[in-house]
């Protein structure tokens, strides 16, 4: 398996969407390729970091204000 072929399956591997034989092939490639190993682990970490950190928070005060406005408008329609 080449690195390009590995990369084409990267998302499915991360999302746990590969069949057992394909997974075995991918793991075989990983054992001999440090580059793909790093790409896999840091891509996983990228997703994890974006999931974990709230980068656009909705403050409570604003939230309440928006709720009031939404419900008032809905009642009118």
């Amino acid at each position: 398996m080449t690195c390009s072929e590995f990369l084409a399956q990267l998302d499915d591997l991360i999302d746990n969407n590969v069949t057992v034989p394909v997974r075995a092939q991918l793991e075989e490639h990983l054992r001999g390729c440090e580059h793909c190993e790093v790409t896999l682990s840091t891509t996983r970490k990228t997703i994890e970091i974006y999931r974990k950190h709230e980068i656009y928070e909705l403050p409570n005060e604003l939230r309440e204000r928006l709720h009031k406005a939404i419900l008032a408008k809905c009642k009118k329609c």
Partner: protein, 208 residues
């Protein structure tokens, strides 16, 4: 010994019950739906418009529009997916208003090789986030994701941050499943490449 029940009834998603009550005029039920999804709608709107005021307007307009169209909600997709589609459209409309004259679309495929082949191959430390404070970290993540083309950004956000499936993401954005898949891969790789600048294992390179 417990027995496995094979005689199951089709489970109704709790949102569908709330939608039905809201359709019958129960505002409390609708408020519950608003509370459940307002943060997600706000995040998605922020990611697309990159403007706080616009995102606030999108939250209001999306929930109002969803309420007006509640009769049209079929129940064959999730309420959340349906709402996200409305929120994405509202966000794009706001974006177009601000950038008059400039085409804003999430449909066009972006021709770029960036990130299609990883270049930065340095490993990251075991806990790369530890090097940065909470607000500094948020700033790095914001700046990094803002650098992606809008069509990649929104696919990554829906799929990886908000947890929609590939099919739901495709449905929300009106894209084909292969288009979602190809954008997701490139979005993930581009973000990884860009974050490497901040998180690469420095001690290994001898850079202090």
């Amino acid at each position: 010994m417990s027995t496995i029940q094979t005689q199951g009834t089709e489970e109704v998603h709790p949102d569908v019950l709330l939608v039905n009550r809201a359709r019958a005029g129960d505002m409390e039920a609708y408020e519950k739906l608003v509370r459940q999804y307002d943060r997600q709608v706000f995040r998605i709107a922020q990611h697309i418009t990159q403007n706080r005021e616009d995102a606030e307007d999108v939250v209001q307009d999306a929930f109002l529009k969803a309420y007006e169209k509640l009769e049209q909600f079929q129940g064959n997709s999730k309420f959340y997916t349906w709402l996200v589609r409305i929120a994405v459209n509202e966000s794009l409309m706001r974006l177009r208003k601000r950038r008059t004259g400039r085409m804003v679309s999430i449909d066009e495929d972006v021709e770029t090789d960036e990130g299609s082949m990883p270049r930065d191959l340095a490993d990251w430390g075991p806990d790369p986030e530890q090097q940065y404070g909470q607000s500094e970290m948020a700033e790095i993540l914001r700046k990094t994701i803002q650098g992606l083309p809008p069509g990649f950004r929104v696919v990554f956000v829906l799929r990886d941050v908000e947890g929609l499936s590939t099919e739901e993401t495709a449905e929300s954005l009106g894209l084909s499943i292969p288009a979602v898949k190809s954008r997701l891969l490139r979005a993930r790789l581009q973000l990884r490449e860009r974050l490497s600048r901040y998180f690469r294992n420095r001690s290994k390179d001898g850079v202090k």
